[in-house]
Structures are given as C-alpha cells and as structure tokens.
Subunit: 184 residues, 2 copies
DNA sequence: ACCTGAACACCGTTCAAGT
DNA sequence: ACCTGAACACCGTTCAAGT
C-alpha cells in the first residue's frame, strides 16, 4: 500500500503542474511561457519540473494527452442529428485549445516527440472520421481525399479567427458536399 | 546619383542577408536559426543585422515578401487547363516554403507584425481564389465557404507530408466538388 | 525518491564606441 | 551612415548538494 500511496501522490503533483502549464500555455502561449514562470505558478523550484517531465516539450505532450482523453470521453457520449452538427461540436470543443494547434505544428518540425504525438493524433482523428464518412455513403475511392479535406478544414477553422456564422456556413457546405462546377 | 548609388548598395546588402536568412530558415527552421548564425552566414557582425532590420521577425517578413512577389509574378504568367491543374501548381510552388507556413501561424499569435502579414497574405490569396470560383460557376451564397475550404486545404497540404498521388487526389476531389451524401 | 540554489550555455537585442 | 565588441537580460536545462 505505501507503494500505491506514493504513486498516487506523484500523479497528483504531476497533475498540478499540468494544470498550471495548460493555463499558461493557453493564455500566454507555449514559447512565451518560461519554465521559471511555470514553476512559480505551480509553487515549486524551476528544476523540480524536470523530475516529473523530461523537458518542456514533454510538459506540452502531457497537457495535450490529458485534454485529448477528456474530449474523447465527451465525444463518445454525444449523439448527433447530422454531420454538420457533429463537425460543429468537434470544432467548438477543439477551439478551447486552438492556440496549441499552431504550436504543435511548429514544434513538430523540430521536436521528434511532438512530431510523434501529432502523427498519432491524426491517425485517431482520421479513424473516427473515416467511420462517419463511410456511414454517410461516400464512395470508397473518394474516402481518403474527402477525409483529408475535412481534417484540413477543421485545422483551418481552429487556426484562423472565424465568426460563428462563418463556421456554420463552412461546416454545412462541407457536409452537403461542394456543388459541382458550372454543370447545372 | 550618389544618393541613388548608396541606396542601391544598401538594397544589395539587405538582399544578401535575406538570401542567407531564407536558406537557413528553410533548412534549420526559423526558431533554430540564431541571429549569430545568420550573421556569420552573411559575413557580418550579429548586431549589424539590426541596422537593416527591426528585429528577427522583420527578417522573416522580408523573406516572405520577396518570395511572395516572385511567386505572384510566376503565377500571373501561367495559364491552366482546369482548376485541378491550377491548384496543384500553387501547392507545388508553395511547398518550396512550406516549413515557413507553420512558423508564420505560430508567430502570428505573438508578433503583431507577423499577424498583419498573415492577414494581408490571406486577403490576397482569397481575392485570387474568389475570381476563379466565380468563373467556375459556384453560386454566390456558397463562394465564401468554398473559398475558405480551399484555402484551408492548401494550408493543410503544405503543413502535412503527402505523397504526390495523395495531393493529386485531394486537389481533384476539391475541384470536382465533394460528392453528395448517400443520395445517389 | 524528491527537491533545491547555483551555475551553464545560449538566445535576441542594445549600447557605447569607432569610421 | 554604417559597423562592431562587449555587455544585458533572459531562456531551457544540468549539477552538486541536501533531505
């Protein structure tokens, strides 16, 4: 039982650091958040962070992983009337962490750990999306391309400021399918 | 004439720094390129850069502006058979500077100057795209949303590694219009 | 095992001084 | 006007030392 108690404490303290990191990363930005700033927000010495995390990128991954788990749990509980509603829900959820999207893309070029997380994240999103697109009757030979367009559009909605009505319009257009070119 | 000669020299030297910066930003990345490294590549003292540029972001903007002008000049010279060909050409051109796309998105959150450049860039791309979509017969009420989807897809193609056939598929699907849902 | 004060190497930028 | 050597404030991370 002492073993168990110890790891429990450790997990709790680790979570406190992740709390502080998430708050600061979202308000001030990842790069703009100094490790000393994060440490003082968590009430510890700067170097203590390195007993819980490998480096700064490892803290970011912890924030991302925890948030992803929570959002995934929420997602699986929902039921949606149509694809537009489903898409809008996902975008609105992800919007809470939208500042981190660009951060992940930028750091994935330099940090292999972030690169790996980003790839795994895409595999997850694409698997979920593929199921829905198949169910919606998209022909097999188009699934791959359509799925990519959806993913890119979700990312675009997150990385660019859009009004609610713009988001609505875009999600709807994507769900209905882009009209054929000058044929009708 | 001395006046002219002087500004000519200045412009030339400034361009040499931009050359070095573009090379390093694309190979090593913006953040990973130290000002000292850039200075030594350009054969000057680190602080000399600051006589030609306000700060590091200002160097980035100079690289972006120069490359954008060159690509725009190329674009206007081209003629395309269809939208797929046009889209593929643009993506392939932009791919040469694709590492900078994520950099711009990330820094736009922190640096107002980069934010401004990014917005102006989007206005330009969207104006060009709008003309083509109108000519292709997309109904007016869908133009805005379709345009955003195209822009987001272009950005997605640049920020994620894709095979040539994936790119081809995606550009084609986007040009033909996304198939209706389970109706036919 | 857990935590720290002090230090390290590095960064973008500035400043006083030169021509 | 143009350029520099030296310094500044700051950064992520490490290390020796404590409990």
């Amino acid at each position: 039982m002492p073993r168990n108690h110890r790891t429990q404490d450790r997990e709790e303290k680790r979570n406190l650091i992740i709390d502080a990191a998430q708050h600061l990363f979202l308000r001030a930005g990842y790069e703009a958040t100094a490790m000393t700033r994060l440490a003082s927000a968590a009430g510890i010495a700067p170097n203590t962070i390195y007993w819980y995390f490998k480096d700064k990128d490892d803290v970011l991954i912890a924030v991302l992983d925890r948030e992803l788990s929570a959002r995934m749990a929420d997602y699986l509980k929902q039921s949606f009337d149509n694809m537009t509603a489903r898409l809008l829900w996902v975008v609105n959820q992800l919007e809470l962490v939208s500042p981190l999207v660009s951060t992940v893309h930028a750091r994935a070029q330099l940090a292999p750990a972030i690169h790996g997380w980003h790839e795994q994240f895409h595999r997850l999103i694409e698997a979920l999306l593929r199921v829905e697109l198949e169910a919606a009757g998209i022909p097999a030979e188009h699934i791959e391309a359509v799925m990519n367009i959806w993913v890119f559009t979700i990312e675009g909605l997150l990385t660019h400021t859009m009004t609610a009505s713009q988001k609505q319009q875009i999600c709807q257009t994507l769900s209905l399918g882009i009209p054929q070119q000058a044929s009708a």
